[in-house]
């Protein structure tokens, strides 16, 4: 048998050899599992301001860079998107978003309603801490992506004797009309239970102490608002102190407002936010939505995303952002959690409406 060494045959042999080399070098999944068709964009619901900027920088831009799929951020409020998603799933329509960035309590409601996709097959879940796992639910209908603290943020010049040590310090008459709380009282109920002389063990059965303290606080005529309000109010000099997520205080500080925050002796509420995918997406879009969340759980994305938010993530070994190492709003070690109050999502989901209603009843009086 004679072999002809033509230029064409040599090229063919070269291609075949390099092809074989590629087969051995790359993971099988990359070669044989054909990636589903890429959508032109995926839509991620997000909170505005500092929140969405951090997500964009840490996850969305990297996702687009890696896949070529554009990411659109839908800034509809989490509470407002919820009924829209629920209605879409109930009517077998394609939901208006691919991924919902949500509070874990709200997401748990959606999971209980059965509108969330299971995402327990994400490869990066293997690297996450216990914080990532939703409590009291089967599998992963959502994945927690970081924790946050409802700190007592304050203007240092309003507290010349040093940081407030107790939530009761806010009852000083000089703070009348100069305090802000969330308009449903979220973040304030649990520390109020302690500040009112009650016990955390009594939650949710007996929260009289909480409501007594809320009544005392009502006499201070507090402003009630949402996340963006706190930043604005601090910037405009409307308030001296607020019970708010540390990220909002950090945002105001970045915008030049002289601001500090603390965890008073009664403690602060610690909670988590999460990502989840609504049911009803086409198969290929579901695949890419999962890839987005998978990327959000990678070390690099968590580091960049949470540097922006100033919050502790769910991956081991993240470096705290400048100035936040050891900060009470950035708990990482078990002892950091000693003054933080964490109540299970199940208890919150079942009782939140009643707490909101009671808080409103007092504040609307």
């Amino acid at each position: 048998m004679s072999i002809k060494y033509s230029r064409r045959n040599i090229l063919r042999a070269g291609l075949a050899t390099s092809g074989a080399a590629l087969l051995t070098a790359l993971p099988a999944s990359r070669l044989f599992a054909q990636e589903p068709e890429k959508p032109s964009e995926i839509i991620v619901r997000a909170w505005g301001g500092e929140w969405v900027e951090s997500l964009k920088k840490g996850v969305s831009d990297r996702f687009t860079e890696m896949t070529g799929i554009a990411v659109r951020h839908d800034l509809t409020e989490d509470n407002e998107i919820q009924p829209k998603v629920w209605a879409a799933v109930a009517q077998n329509r394609v939901p208006p978003i691919h991924i919902n960035w949500d509070t874990t309590t709200n997401a748990t409601k959606s999971a209980l309603r059965g509108v969330t996709e299971d995402i327990s097959d994400l490869t990066n879940l293997a690297n996450t801490t216990e914080l990532a796992k939703p409590v009291g639910l089967d599998g992963y209908p959502m994945v927690n992506t970081y924790g946050y603290v409802y700190v007592l943020a304050y203007r240092p010049d309003a507290f010349p004797d040093g940081p407030p040590k107790s939530w009761r310090d806010l009852l000083d008459p000089k703070f009348k009309g100069r305090i802000a709380l969330y308009n449903d009282g979220i973040g304030f109920h649990f520390p109020a239970q302690v500040a009112g002389g009650g016990s955390l063990e009594d939650i949710p059965d007996n929260m009289d102490a909480c409501w007594d303290f809320v009544r005392e606080m009502k006499e201070q005529n507090p402003l009630l608002g949402e996340d963006p309000d706190f930043t604005t109010w601090f910037q405009n000099g409307e308030i001296d102190a607020a019970c708010t997520i540390s990220t909002n205080a950090l945002a105001a500080k970045k915008n030049g407002v002289e601001l500090a925050w603390t965890v008073p002796e009664e403690g602060c509420k610690f909670d988590t936010d999460c990502l989840w995918i609504p049911k009803g997406l086409p198969e290929n879009e579901l695949y890419w939505a999962k890839q987005y969340i998978n990327l959000a759980l990678s070390q690099e994305s968590q580091q960049i995303w949470l540097d922006g938010l100033g919050l502790p993530g769910v991956i081991e070994g993240l470096t705290p952002p400048a100035g936040l190492a050891g900060d009470p709003s950035y708990p990482t070690e078990p002892e950091d959690f000693e003054h933080l109050i964490r109540v299970s999502s199940a208890v919150q989901v079942q009782n939140e409406s009643d707490w909101f209603a009671k808080f409103k009843e007092i504040m609307q009086g």
């Binding site: 009630l224 608002g225 409307e238 079942q350 939140e352 409406s353 409103k360 009843e361 009086g365």
Partner: protein, 321 residues
């Protein structure tokens, strides 16, 4: 006798103007689409789009009525199967909703009063002035806010009335310490009056135009001064406009959401804010629907009472009362 041009005669060919031909074509098309034998139903056809719109609204109300009869099952966050009046009972027994309803009605009443108080002289000057420049200036000032939405206007007030805002800066010039002008009940009413003023002026202006100027002239020739003439001639004759404007301003204020949300500082909720909370904050659509229907009933009863007592004003479209 003029000769009728014949189309057979090329010397006297007459070409219809383009506009006539278009009108003929439209007439022909209309005749094909809606033949003359259908003319008894023309009125119904014209009113059909409005009926469809109202029909959709009524369907929505039926849906909400159905929704209001189911409580939220918090184990699965879906409405329970059983029909119940528990949502209505919850509203009736709640001190919060009682306060919110009273606040909404009181604020709507105050808004009507202050808006009409400001709108009447504004509309009167706009209608009666003999100087075209003044009328134009008043019209421009009136229409300008229409180009700006309610939310933007409320933000404008936040800037002006804030602790470091223009108003407090002005007070600072005369040595007055900054005071809290925002986030209270008066701020909400102020915002509503500012928002409603153009609506009221627009509703009052036609009613004032319809008052013959000669009537006022006659009154003054009989010895009435301007104030007497305004009180005894203009006010009674402007009553239809005042009632129409009052009804529009009152119902819009009663159902307002943005002003209490933005200027109330979270503690001055109206019924619409309470409905929003139930739909979007606690996901309890049944309770939200019950509140929404109660708002519809409350608004309808108030409007019904006003119409029964004073007539529908300019909204009555000339019907006798």
């Amino acid at each position: 006798m003029p000769q009728i041009p014949s189309t057979d005669d090329p010397q006297t060919t007459f070409r219809y103007p383009l506009r006539w031909r278009i009108m003929d074509a439209l007439n022909y098309g209309l005749d094909r689409f809606w033949p003359a034998r259908m003319s008894p139903y023309t009125g119904w056809a014209l009113i059909m789009p409005a009926l469809l719109l109202v029909g959709i609204l009524v369907l929505g109300l039926f849906e909400m009525a159905d929704s209001s009869l189911h409580t939220l099952d918090r184990a699965i966050f879906r409405p329970s199967e059983a029909y119940t009046l528990e949502n209505y009972q919850a509203v009736m027994e709640s001190a919060t909703y009682g306060r919110v309803v009273m606040r909404s009605v009181f604020a709507a009443g105050l808004t009507v009063f202050f808006t009409l108080l400001l709108a009447l002289p504004y509309a009167y000057i706009m209608v009666r002035t003999t100087r075209s420049a003044v009328r134009k200036a008043l019209l421009v000032t009136l229409f300008l806010p229409f180009f700006i939405g309610q939310v933007v206007r409320a933000y404008g007030l936040l800037i002006i009335l804030g602790t470091n805002g223009v108003a407090n800066n002005a007070l600072g010039l005369v040595g007055i310490e900054p005071i809290r002008l925002l986030f209270n009940f008066p701020a909400v009413v102020f915002g509503l009056v500012q928002y409603m003023l153009p609506f009221a002026v627009l509703m009052l202006a036609p009613a004032l135009t319809a008052i013959p100027r000669e009537t006022e002239t006659a009154a003054s020739s009989l010895g009435a001064n301007w104030l007497q003439s305004f009180r005894h001639i203009v006010l009674p004759m402007a009553k239809p406009g005042l009632i129409g404007a009052g009804l529009v301003v009152g119902t819009l204020s009663l159902t307002d959401f943005a002003m209490p949300a933005m200027l109330g500082g979270g503690s001055q909720d109206f019924i619409a804010n309470a409905i929003y909370d139930q739909f979007f904050r606690t996901a309890d659509q049944g309770l939200g629907a019950a509140l929404a229907l109660l708002l519809v009933v409350l608004g309808s009863v108030i409007v019904g009472v006003v119409i029964a007592l004073f007539g529908a004003g300019t909204l009555g479209m000339g019907s006798k009362k």
